[in-house]
Amino acid sequence: MTPPRIILYAEDEQNDVYFLQRAFRIAGSPHLLTAVPDGEQAVEYLAGGGAFADRASYPLPILVLLDINMPKKSGLAVLEWIRRQSLFKSLPVVIFTSSSRTEDMDQARLLGADDYLLKPSDPLKLVDLVKSLHDRWLSQQEASAYNR
């Protein structure tokens, strides 16, 4: 067994966090979904600042899921920041939102999001979504950490 890897999930809506964590559990994911409640903390986690300075407790994630509408810093702003860091140039970032606005989609693509997923209106369908996330982003992670 490989040690659990971290999936960082920035989401202000605690119910959504709960549903996704439950879906990861049901799907039998070996990875750990770590949630932060806003964009600012997402940046801080990745930068290893403040409360997240201890990398042993807060290892770098192998995937970042970002909601768009969040307090303090939006998901797109976090994405922009991530892509500016040379360390995270190839860190997979998936936008996970209920916004179907074309502007948001275009913006996300422009800023270098790897995928754009709409939150299903029925949270029970999240299990399927988690499975497809695994298929696409998480199965190759053992071979090389940030190589896609």
Binding site: S98, K119, P123, L124
Partner: protein
């Protein structure tokens, strides 16, 4: 006489004949002399002594020049020149000077004298004293001259005797009378005219005419009297008559002479001039424009410095406000008058070029519209000025201009205001859009929670729930699903409203079949849907067209009586450049009064059917975005026929 003499002289070899001739010479009354070609006298008879006062010894050997009076010096050379040519001179009347210096009129005949060989050696002259004969001839000549003058005179002339009988008249008199009276006719007396009138138009009988008055001694003469003559043809002429009595040596009146001339044309010109003058006067007096004639005053440098009003019309005072201007200098009346007025008029006076201008006289507080032109001759430096006080128009004009400027300013301000408000409105709209987007978006999170947790309860613990509990949970889930549909449609609608969508030719058959395949509810046994070819390509947007079709199809199968399998027929109709898609259903139909309303937002006719009330509004908005239209034909209970009309991708060529 000359014919007799000439042969005699040519035959001098007959001695006895010479005595005869000598006797003839001495006894002749005519002076006979001979001279050589140099004009030296060789013979001189007794009559020559008598007529010229020189004796033969005094004259012979002298030049004939002794006989030539001053002013006749050229005659002798001429005469001798003719003689040399062998010609003669006959009865040449001239004047010669006597020994005592007095003059004598003579008639001169000259012949050449030839020698035996026929060569001309001199001249013989016969001079006849014609002093006696001269006065009578002179009288006759004078009379002839006067007759000629009488006939040629441009003035009409006639004369009468004491009885009034016409003695003579000239051509002009006959022309003015319009006829030729018979001379000496005692019935036609005093005047040859047909009828005469005084200038006042009254008739003048012939025996009272000025000629009659003069010969009958009632007046001594007539000077420049005006008489109107009527001719037999009725035409009239006006003449001026001048009459003098004719008197004999004793001073007795023997008749009268009348010189008269036509002044008809002059009268007409005078009349026309008077009329013109009158017209000008009345114009001058009655026009509303001010009019004046001024004389411009210049200084020694030819600079106009002032002007005098020579004449002003009645309107002048009203137009200028100046009283009693005539005869006065303008600077006396208006000391502060602007210089440019003198300069303008000075230029007109000097150049003769008329000027039209509109300018201000601040000193008078008025604006004038002026036309100035040179009057009379340049050296008088007079200018005629026709002008109008246009202060009111000018002020109105200025006020209008100011108003226009103000209006333009206002328009600019208004435009600024409009664009400012528009900008503000736009920002409000986008704020609102953002707000509505955010709020609908944020509504989804709690909705997901409701749905998720209700679903989890339903899945995990349904054996612990009563049938009633399970029904409640299902209702919670349905309600939250409906709300989600509402939010999705609203967001979709907002998107269509906000965004322009790209258009291209689309195959509607492909879109329709795709929809039919992806929705099980659109297939048997849930529904029977019939696609009828052809389905021509239209100008549309893929997603937009899908949106429209799926909504229309959804409606077509939705509104049926419970338990009934819906039937839908889809076909097209080409209407000009458009393709109309018909969606005919077997549903409940729509009453006429609602047929328009159903295309509005949140309009639901029957709450018994699932839906958000946005679908048709979305179809209409999407159709409009694709330059199309949507509509419905329906009868309650008869089903509905919705149509969607879009631009033909390959319109049929008519």
């Amino acid at each position: 006489m000359s014919e007799v003499l000439a042969p005699v002289i040519s035959r001098p070899n007959r001695p006895d004949a010479r005595y005869h001739f000598a006797a003839i010479l001495e006894s002749s009354d005519d002076a006979i002399l001979s001279e050589d070609l140099n004009g030296i006298i060789h013979s001189w008879n007794r009559a020559a002594e008598r007529i010229f006062g020189y004796t033969a010894p005094e004259a012979i050997g002298k030049s004939v020049a002794i006989l030539i009076p001053p002013g006749h010096e050229n005659e002798e050379p001429h005469i001798l020149a003719r003689i040399r040519r062998g010609e003669k001179v006959d009865h040449y009347e001239t004047v010669r000077q006597r020994n005592d210096g007095s003059l004598v009129d003579i008639s001169l005949s000259v012949f050449p004298i030839k020698d035996a060989d026929g060569r001309i050696i001199g001249a013989s002259k016969i001079a006849r004293d014609i002093s006696e004969r001269k006065p009578q001839e002179a009288l006759r000549a004078s009379e002839e001259r006067f007759r000629t003058l009488f006939n040629l005179s441009p003035v009409a002339v006639y004369s009468i005797d004491t009885l009034g009988v016409i003695q003579n008249f000239n051509r002009h008199a006959a022309e003015l009378w319009g006829r030729q009276p018979a001379l000496g006719d005692t019935d036609q007396r005093f005047c040859g005219s047909f009828k005469m009138f005084r200038p006042d138009g009254s008739y003048i009988p012939h025996e009272q005419c000025p000629m009659a008055e003069v010969v009958e001694g009632r007046i001594s003469e007539a000077r420049d009297a005006e008489v109107h003559i009527e001719r037999p043809d009725g035409s009239r002429v006006t003449v001026i008559v001048n009459i003098r009595p004719l008197k004999d040596d004793q001073g007795e009146v023997t008749g009268a002479i009348n010189c008269f001339y036509d002044i008809t044309q002059r009268k007409q010109i005078e009349l026309a001039q008077r009329q013109s003058e009158r017209r000008y006067r009345s114009l001058f007096e009655s026009i509303d424009e001010g009019f004046c004639i001024i004389e411009v005053l210049f200084d020694s440098q030819q600079r106009a410095i002032d002007f005098v009003f020579l004449e002003t019309n009645p309107a002048f005072e009203k137009q200028t406000g100046l009283h009693g201007a005539q005869g006065r200098r303008v600077l006396e009346l208006v000391p502060a008058l602007e210089r440019h007025w003198f300069e303008t008029y000075g230029r007109v006076a000097l150049t003769g070029e008329p000027v039209r201008l509109q300018d201000r006289a601040n000193s008078l507080g008025r604006w004038f519209d002026v036309y100035a032109f040179r009057a009379e001759t340049p050296e008088l430096r007079r200018v005629a000025v026709l002008f109008t006080d246009v202060t009111q128009q000018r002020e109105a004009h200025d006020a209008l201009r100011a108003a226009q400027v103000q209006l333009a300013d206002r328009a600019v301000q208004l435009e600024d205001l409009v664009s400012e408000r528009t900008a503000r409105l736009q920002s409000t709209i986008s704020e609102l859009e953002h707000f509505s987007y955010t709020i609908t978006h944020d509504m989804r999170a709690p909705l997901r929670a409701m749905q998720g947790f209700a679903g989890m309860l339903l899945n995990q613990t349904d054996d612990r729930l009563t049938a009633e509990n399970t029904d409640y949970l299902r209702r919670i889930m349905e309600a939250s699903q409906r709300m989600d549909a509402l939010i999705t449609d609203s967001l979709q609608y907002a998107k269509v409203v906000r965004n322009r969508i790209p258009l291209s030719p689309i195959e509607p058959g492909r879109v329709l079949r795709g929809i039919l395949e992806s929705y099980p509810t659109l297939r048997a046994p849930h529904a029977e849907i019939q696609l009828i070819e052809p389905l021509p390509a239209v100008i549309a947007n893929d997603a937009g067209l899908g949106q429209c079709f799926s909504n229309l199809l959804g409606n077509a199968i939705k509104f049926v009586k419970p338990g009934k399998v819906p039937h839908v027929r889809i076909w097209t109709e080409t209407r000009g450049d458009f393709v109309r898609f018909w969606f005919e259903d077997s549903g409940i139909g729509i009453p006429k009064e609602y047929q328009e309303r159903i295309f509005g937002m949140f309009q639901q006719l029957d709450k018994g059917y699932e839906g958000t009330g946005i679908g048709l509004a979305l179809v209409r908005k999407t159709a409009e975005r694709m330059d199309g239209k949507v509509g419905v034909e329906s009868e309650p209970g008869q089903g509905s026929r919705f149509w969607l009309e879009l631009k033909h991708a390959n319109p049929p060529i008519l």
